[in-house]
């Protein structure tokens, strides 16, 4: 290769580099003129992310619910073993005769009520370990403040009528099958033992609700998600409605929370 060819090659490389730099400069100049994401795209994006967040949350809740069911089965099996052992001991005591037999039998009979739901209940022989608000199961699917207000009113009304079913025909009452399951005076209700009730109270407490003041709980739904609607006083003529996922974790944000006008007994 002659020196003239080499000079031509060098000139070609230099020209190529110069054009590449010029293109780079043009590209950077163009990029500098780019504006922010337009407002309509931001709004659209926010809406899509909001919807995806809800879907993700629902999927996560389903997963946790399945895990909770498995855990409940394990607990139930463990409780069965404990009760079986207790029964065996009681029968052994019976065989031994004496005054202890009736006491042991009474304890064995009382045991299921204490352990079936994982919540210590009020009974003749023991104190209340956790608050016992009335629990209703409306099955209503709440989705807006008006429905919540009506639901809260129904829960408060139910708490004033212990042991009685709610009034399905009342105006504004969202659930046609609202049934009072438990009340402070009704220790035999089944849903008081529902772990969801205790869990909801724990979550409500973490959200700032004093469990001792809770007026009632409605086992219902919030926009399709199984939820517990916890109603508590919020000043004169108002009640605080805190909607929690039934399998919430204390510290988790409520699905909804608002103060609404309502009668405080």
């Amino acid at each position: 290769m002659s020196s003239s060819d080499e000079e031509q090659d060098d000139a070609g490389v230099a020209a190529f580099d110069a054009s590449a730099r010029a293109v780079g400069d043009l590209l950077r100049a163009a990029a500098a003129q780019d504006g922010p994401m337009p407002a309509d795209v931001v709004a659209r994006l926010d809406a899509a992310l909001g919807a995806a967040r809800v879907e993700t949350r629902v999927a996560s809740l389903d997963h946790r619910r399945r895990r909770a069911r498995r855990w409940n089965r394990v607990l139930a099996a463990a409780a069965g073993v404990v009760l079986g052992g207790g029964g065996y001991l009681a029968s052994q005591a019976d065989l031994g005769g004496g005054a202890a037999s009736s006491t042991s039998a009474g304890s064995a009979a009382g045991a299921p009520a204490m352990s079936s739901g994982g919540v210590e209940r009020k009974d003749a022989s023991g104190p209340v370990a956790v608050p016992d608000p009335p629990v209703v199961s409306s099955g209503a699917d709440y989705g807006d403040p008006a429905a919540l207000q009506a639901g809260a009113a129904a829960v408060v009304a139910a708490s004033g009528q212990p042991g009685q079913p709610g009034q399905p025909g009342q105006p504004g009452q969202p659930g046609p099958d609202r049934t009072l399951l438990t009340s402070p005076q009704d220790a035999a209700g089944e849903d008081r033992g529902d772990p969801a009730v205790a869990q909801s109270l724990s979550c409500a407490q973490a959200a700032g609700v004093d469990p001792a003041t809770v007026l009632g709980i409605d086992l219902a739904q919030w926009r399709g998600t199984p939820a517990a609607v916890v109603v508590s006083p919020a000043g004169p003529g108002r009640v605080q409605v805190t909607v929690l996922a039934r399998d919430c974790v204390p510290g988790e944000a409520p699905l909804a929370a608002q103060a609404v006008a309502g009668p405080v007994p």
Binding site: F16, V23, R28, A29, Q33, P36
Partner: protein, 200 residues
């Protein structure tokens, strides 16, 4: 419970901390990550697709996908790299789909490149403007639209937005040398299209 005030105060957490918080259930964390990076992601998507609607769809799909898959983010790369990778991949997927089924709005002019300009979708319609900067932007946009999408994506990242070559390689999922060669060929093609002096 009162929702937190949506003020202008910037969240002090890092991107990685925000993603972790999102995975742990913080409902606002991912939104903060998006707020921090959306303008840059938007610009990259717009330049890569060359079409506003395609860019909006790509960014939306990518960020929704990132939100759902955040639990799989291991922190091996920066959050921005991860987000750019998802966005660029969404853009390239769309470009490939359009290449299979090219569409062209009836009103739109076909540039001098003819078929070539439709290869990765229609180039934006051009309205001549006397302002030099606007003209430059349009020229560059048109010229970029003529490049194969792989070259365009490399140039957009490296030359337009100063993403380091190594990071661009990570975003594009190719070797560093591949990014360099794509950039080099892309610059040569652009120089020719733009009539940049010094081109041999």
């Amino acid at each position: 419970m009162t929702p937190p005030a949506d003020g202008d105060a910037r969240d002090p957490r890092t991107d990685a901390e925000l993603v972790a918080a999102h995975v742990a259930g913080d409902p606002d964390a991912f939104g903060e990550v998006v707020r921090r990076h959306r303008d840059r992601l938007w610009a990259v998507a717009l330049r890569t697709t060359g079409d506003r609607e395609e860019a909006a769809d790509a960014v939306q799909d990518a960020l929704v996908s990132a939100l759902r898959a955040a639990d799989r983010f291991r922190g091996d790369s920066a959050v921005t790299t991860w987000l750019h990778r998802i966005v660029v991949n969404a853009c390239l997927d769309r470009a490939r789909r359009r290449a299979v089924r090219p569409t062209r709005p009836l009103e739109e002019e076909v540039g001098p490149g003819g078929e070539d300009s439709r290869r990765t979708g229609a180039a934006p319609a051009v309205v001549p403007d006397q302002t030099p900067s606007v003209q430059t932007r349009l020229d560059v946009t048109q010229a970029l639209a003529r490049l194969p999408e792989a070259q365009r994506a490399a140039l957009v990242l490296v030359d337009m937005y100063d993403v380091p070559v190594a990071e661009a390689a990570e975003i594009l999922g190719v070797a560093v040398g591949t990014v360099k060669s794509r950039c080099s060929r892309g610059r040569a093609a652009l120089a020719e299209v733009l009539g940049v002096a010094g081109n041999r």
